[in-house]
């Protein structure tokens, strides 16, 4: 540890120090001449055999004969890498995998753990991936003079997505970790997602190892970054490791730091088996594969396990580690992370966050995760109604591997049968859309159905006029129950630590009771919360009582599809989801950013400076405002320098109205949207204007209106065309020719959606709510 503390600021000194300290015999030759040693580095790049850390070279030879029993919890380190997008997280993961011989350098694809096509195309990580590495660590003798002893360690690396949409993946991964490498780009410094991810890790009580990456860049300024780490996170600048994942510089310090600083997994080897289900996906050959972290006890192949959430039991057919692909080991010990194949039929049975335990043993379920919260909803429709089944199939396949997407069937008068999908955020939606199109491509050569993203709001709740005179009490209950339900219940449980026999029937009863109040969405939400937190009967009754009371008091509608909201305004008050946005900008852009945020109805919560050049701002913004074009706008006004991140926050009362789009007096359900009253005028005008560009002139005037209830707030008229006639049609040749022309005209209508008597091209639906 002392070595790291003494790490010097400049490269030169760093290198001298490095070579003089203790490590590589190869570098030791250069000890006397630091310049020369640098040349060696530059010339040959890096070579992990040269490092102190001896990679396990024979790992491939006996891949199937890992003796995991050599690795008791104290020789295990579970850590993840967190960072802002593009700060080099996945590249660093590659290097660590190579360094430990888990993958061969130059073999396999770069960004090894980004397995999805869309991840590679976009250069982002969407799904967390796990890899087990073996690493022999040299422990220095206590006084620094003893011969170093080699100790083998088992390291589990979990690569996490950087984007906030996938925060749930991050928090999931973090639950299986005791430490995290916080990677920061040496030239860009701390960015918005660095902040968000730091707090995620911090709140999970992880040991944070700061890594300043990309120090090979000419613009790198590690000192500035160190100062930022100090001022933002109160991290000791001396603890920061300077690396370049690209050149390999400094990498040799990373794993020792992990081993020395990150605590071993807690867990008790002698307790009954208890493991946390981290993730699941579907494999065509093996079926459902679950990633698990063994918290207590030992898991062996052939064991009978049960799920705490569903009560189902399974036999463990295969168990192993990801090294980096599935590698059977037959056993997983306390603190280890690996996979199991257990004959589950669908990923729906594998509830992420679930506790799996040995059959017939009694264990306390693990805390689990926050339930997935869907922030953005979108309609997905086939362009051609006859392709519905194909779309259905494609969506099913995708959700097999992405259980975080919620899918419900719906139908629209304008678009026919389709689906409403809930997403974690915009990027998630975008990625899903792209994967859907790729799936379509592989099914067919040409994409006959194009997924259509119809509209984009969002969880939204309204409350009709309460009959109860005690309105305030109702509101208080609403806010406590509503979005904080899970936290509230969870806290209650924590406080009392009340344990009672599980009673799933009771839970079901609760669902029924809430159901009876006509609020299915809410019922299922509560139900899910209860499931997740393993609420037991005592609290359960209270919960039911509370929920019943609330349900009786209010009639709340959660609107996932604006069209479902009645146009007549019976709404007493409406609540909209907000996000907590973190914005980091060079100080010269502070003015425009503040203007933008206030235009978007943002509320400034914090405003400070990270250092002399960069400002840090926290805003509460309505999700609605962020969904549409916020990020683009922010990038534009800051010449691309702003970094932006957000996490979902509470609901706030808001003056929202449903904006209907009417075409010749007929509302187009798929075009309805929900906007803030003050913005309705402008949004309405924009939409109407946009729409006029896509609807072709027809034989009658087409009025396009935007209306709130009965009040029309914007209107455009598309003039009719006046003449569409082939005048001369005499003689047989004419007949044939003219018929061909008219048939062509007919075919042009096929791909239109008809609303009333107006044909609206698909394009219009596509473009109208295009999310930039």
């Amino acid at each position: 540890m002392g070595y790291f503390r003494r790490a010097s600021d400049t490269f030169e000194r760093y290198l001298i120090h490095f070579s003089s300290s203790r490590f590589s015999p190869l570098l030791a030759v250069n000890r006397a001449n630091p310049i020369e040693s640098r040349l060696v580095w530059n010339q040959f790049g890096w070579n992990y055999y040269a490092f102190c850390s001896h990679a396990r070279q024979n790992c491939n030879d006996n891949a199937n004969s890992f003796d995991l029993s050599q690795y008791p919890p104290e020789k295990i380190r579970n850590f993840s890498i967190i960072a802002h997008v593009d700060h080099g997280k996945s590249t660093l993961a590659d290097r660590l995998l190579e360094l430990t011989g888990t993958i061969k350098r130059g073999h396999g694809q770069p960004q090894y753990l980004d397995k999805l096509q869309v991840e590679r195309e976009r250069g982002i990580t969407v799904k967390a991936q796990t890899a087990t590495m073996f690493h022999d660590h040299k422990f220095q003798g206590a006084d620094g003079t003893d011969a170093p002893s080699l100790v083998g360690f088992l390291l589990n690396l979990i690569d996490t997505p950087g984007h906030v949409d996938f925060n749930y993946e991050v928090s999931r991964s973090l639950a299986a970790c005791q430490g995290a490498l916080l990677v920061v780009d040496a030239s860009q410094g701390i960015e918005a997602q660095t902040v968000a991810n730091f707090y995620l890790a911090f709140e999970s009580n992880l040991t944070i190892v700061p890594v300043i990456n990309k120090i090979d860049l000419p613009t790198a300024d590690p000192d500035r970054v160190k100062a930022q780490l100090k001022s933002m996170f109160d991290l000791d600048p001396n603890e920061a490791i300077l690396t370049s994942a690209k050149t390999g510089q400094g990498l040799e310090h990373v794993l020792p730091a992990v081993i020395e600083r990150v605590p071993a997994p807690p867990g008790n080897r002698n307790s009954p088996l208890r493991m946390l289900l981290l993730d699941s996906y579907y494999n065509d050959y093996k079926g459902v594969i679950c990633h698990v972290a063994v918290v207590d006890g030992t898991l062996r192949k052939g064991a009978k396990i049960s799920s705490a959430a569903t009560g189902q039991s399974y036999e463990v057919l295969d168990v192993g580690i990801m090294h980096p692909e599935l590698t059977p080991t037959g056993v997983l010990l306390t603190g280890q992370v690996g996979y199991i194949v257990s004959g589950m039929r669908s990923t729906k049975e594998a509830r992420v966050g679930d506790t799996l335990y040995q059959n017939r043993s009694i264990v306390e379920p693990l805390p689990g995760f926050k339930p997935v919260k869907h922030m953005v909803f979108s309609g997905v429709y086939p362009v051609d109604g006859s392709d519905f089944n194909e779309l259905n199939h494609a969506i099913e396949r995708l959700t097999c591997n992405d259980a975080s997407v919620s899918v419900t069937r719906e139908s629209s008068t304008a678009l026919g049968m389709g689906f409403r999908c809930g997403f974690l955020g915009l990027l998630h939606m975008d990625v899903f859309h792209q994967r859907l199109e790729q799936a379509g491509n592989s099914i067919r050569d040409c994409l006959h159905w194009g997924a259509l993203l119809v509209s984009n709001l969002v969880l939204y709740s309204t409350r009709e006029q309460a009959q109860d005179p005690d309105l305030e009490a109702g509101e208080a209950l609403l806010s406590s129950i509503h979005h904080n339900a899970s936290e509230t219940l969870y806290n209650l449980l924590q406080q009392t630590r009340m344990q009672a026999p599980q009673s799933w029937t009771m839970l079901e009863l609760a669902a029924e009771i809430i159901d009876a109040q006509g609020d299915i969405a809410y019922a299922s939400e509560v139900f899910n919360d209860l499931l997740t937190h393993q609420v037991h009967s005592f609290y359960f009754e209270q919960t039911v009582e509370l929920a019943t009371y609330v349900a009786a008091l209010i009639s709340k509608v959660q609107v996932q599809n604006p069209a479902a909201l009645p146009s007549n305004s019976k709404i007493h008050s409406s609540w909209e989801p907000t996000v907590m946005a973190t914005i980091i900008v060079p100080s010269e852009f502070v003015g425009p950013v503040i203007t933008l945020c206030s235009e978007r109805r943002g509320e400034q919560l914090e405003y400070s400076f990270i250092d002399s050049q960069r400002a840090f701002m926290k805003y509460r913004l309505p999700l609605r405002e962020v969904v549409i074009d916020f990020h683009n706008e922010l990038k534009t006004i800051t010449s691309g320098y702003a970094s932006f991140d957000y996490e979902d926050s509470e609901y706030q009362a808001s003056d929202l109205v449903k904006l209907d789009i009417l075409v010749n007096g007929k509302p187009v359900d798929a075009m309805a949207t929900i906007v803030h009253n003050l913005k309705a005028q402008r949004v309405g005008r924009d939409l109407v204007e946009k729409l006029t560009k896509f609807i072709a002139r027809q034989q009658f005037p087409i009025a396009i209106q935007a209306a709130i209830g009965l009040k029309v707030i914007a209107r455009e008229t598309i003039k009719p065309y006046r003449k569409d006639v082939l005048v001369k049609c005499e003689g047989g040749g004419d007949v044939t020719r003219k018929r061909k022309l008219l048939e062509k005209q007919k075919d042009g209508k096929k791909r239109m959606k008809r609303v009333g008597s107006v044909d609206i091209p698909q394009e219009a639906f596509h473009q109208l709510f295009k999310v930039s």
């Binding site: 006046r722 001369k728 049609c729 007949v735």
Partner: protein
């Protein structure tokens, strides 16, 4: 080459598996028995075939392609003779003579079922400029037709004639041959417009021609006008219509300029853009023609045709009623036994075609195989051009009531908007309200609504769109 006699062997072959070069004697195409390859190729046809196809043809179109020069809007198969050609009766242009010979050979080679076929009731000389053909040669064509198919006395024999291409003598000669209807290609009453569209005559010749037609006592004549010409103003159009009415033709055809690709205009102008009138303007021209001519006692009996009572063009009605007709000459089309067939548009190919015809072999047109839906579409497309409209009763008998019902559904909004008019069996209009309430009751609406037509002028003006909609109802 397969001869027609082999056709029964092919009886069982589905239409698409025919050898592509399959040939047949054209005579068989005309004969009802034994059935031809074509007719057998789609067995459905015979059951659903519109009864009008079964009638033997009594109309013949004869294409006389000669013009002095090509008009700037024209994309018809024509032969430009050049203006230097002396127009004398003594020395006939050999190109014309040769063509007429070829034409007569075609007529001769076309075998009719002579014993049963009724004589021709209409003959139409179209062009080109048929009036450039010396009467002597017209006579030989009529003789050939008469000897071949018979020519009913009093048959309507029309000829397209252009101002400046005939004098009183020629007119009288033609009348003596039996030509009893003249279609005079006036097009406009403004010299600058005539010049701009490349016509070979001026307004002076127009007035002379009207004078000749009148003085010779042609009792049935039509005047052709073109609206939406480049630089045409509302005033000019109004003047043309007024002068047309003043000339008192029994029939007026009003064509809206169609800018076709490959024509001089096609290269110069874009529809709807200056100097062509905007579509609002040309719609106004159309409406102006409709109202002025109607006020002057003309019936607007087809999208572009107006006539005094009982002076409809019988020949053209054949087309719109979807009845069979012969076609002779370069590029002309025939409709026989349910098959539409166009002759080659190039003279050389046409000569080869006639030769083959005489040799008793002729290549089948590739995709003229009629099926029920195609015929339903033809029937709808043609009948909706007329004021009479679509006769739903016979349409239902031929194509079934489900098609009628989908038509009703498709047209509901247009009945409401007034573009489509429903009529009962006494040709009284069925009101919108009545239509909508009837629509829920399938049977009753079929009982009540017997005709469906496009309104004049709004429905006619949007006929493409409306017919395309009907197509969509027929083949979704």
């Amino acid at each position: 080459m397969l001869k027609a006699t082999f056709s029964p062997i092919l009886h069982t072959l589905p239409a698409k598996s025919r050898p592509p070069k399959l040939s047949r004697a054209i005579s068989n195409a005309l004969a009802q028995t034994p059935p031809t390859v074509r007719q057998n190729a789609s067995p459905k046809t015979t059951t659903t075939s519109n009864s009008t196809h079964k009638h033997p043809p009594t109309s013949a179109y004869v294409h006389l392609p000669f013009c002095r020069k090509r008009c700037h809007y024209c994309d018809f198969p024509i032969v430009a003779l050049g203006s230097s050609q002396p127009d004398t009766d003594d020395i006939d242009d050999p190109r014309i003579v040769n063509y007429i010979q070829l034409l007569c050979r075609e007529i001769q080679a076309t075998q009719s079922e002579s014993t049963q076929n009724p004589p021709l009731e209409t003959v139409f000389f179209g062009g080109g400029t048929p009036s450039l053909v010396p009467p002597r040669l017209v006579s030989s064509v009529l003789d050939t037709l008469g000897s071949k198919f018979g020519l009913r006395s009093g048959a309507e024999i029309s000829m397209e004639m252009d101002p400046g291409t005939f004098d009183a003598k020629k007119m009288k000669d033609l009348m003596e041959l039996g030509v009893n209807r003249v279609s005079l290609g006036v097009q406009a009453f403004q010299d600058e417009l005539l010049k701009a569209c490349g016509r070979a005559h001026g307004v002076k010749e127009v007035h002379e021609a009207i004078e000749i037609v009148g003085s010779c006592g042609v009792g049935n004549w039509s005047m052709d006008l073109i609206s939406s010409l480049p630089h045409q103003t509302t005033e000019m159009w109004e003047e043309s219509l007024m002068l047309a009415i003043k000339a008192q033709p029994t029939h007026v055809s009003v064509y809206d300029l169609q800018v076709e690709q490959g024509t001089k205009f096609g290269g110069l102008y874009t529809p709807g853009e200056f100097p062509l009138p905007s579509d609002i303007q040309s719609a106004d021209f159309y409406k102006m023609a409709s109202s002025m001519l109607s006020n002057a006692g003309y019936n607007h009996y087809e999208i572009s045709s107006y006539s005094k009572s009982s002076f409809e063009c019988k020949h053209n009605l054949t087309y719109w009623e979807n009845k069979p007709f012969y076609g002779f000459g370069l590029g002309s089309a025939s409709f026989l036994g349910g098959i539409r067939f166009s002759r080659p548009k190039k003279m050389k190919e046409y000569m080869g075609y006639v030769q083959n015809l005489e040799d008793g072999i002729i290549e089948c047109p590739e995709d003229s195989c009629p099926d029920a839906k195609d015929m339903a579409m033809d029937s709808v497309m043609l009948s909706l051009r007329t004021a009479r409209g679509l006769d739903l009763k016979s349409f239902k008998e031929t194509f079934g009531s489900s098609l009628v019902h989908s038509l009703f559904q498709a047209y509901k909004p247009y009945v409401e908007s007034g573009h489509v008019v429903c009529l009962d069996r006494h040709r009284r209009a069925v009101t919108k309200e009545q239509f909508c309430s009837l629509l829920s009751d399938g049977l009753e609406i079929e009982e009540t609504v017997t005709f469906i037509r496009l309104s004049d002028p709004d429905g006619f003006l949007l006929s493409n769109e409306l017919i395309a909609l009907a197509f969509r109802a027929i083949t979704p």
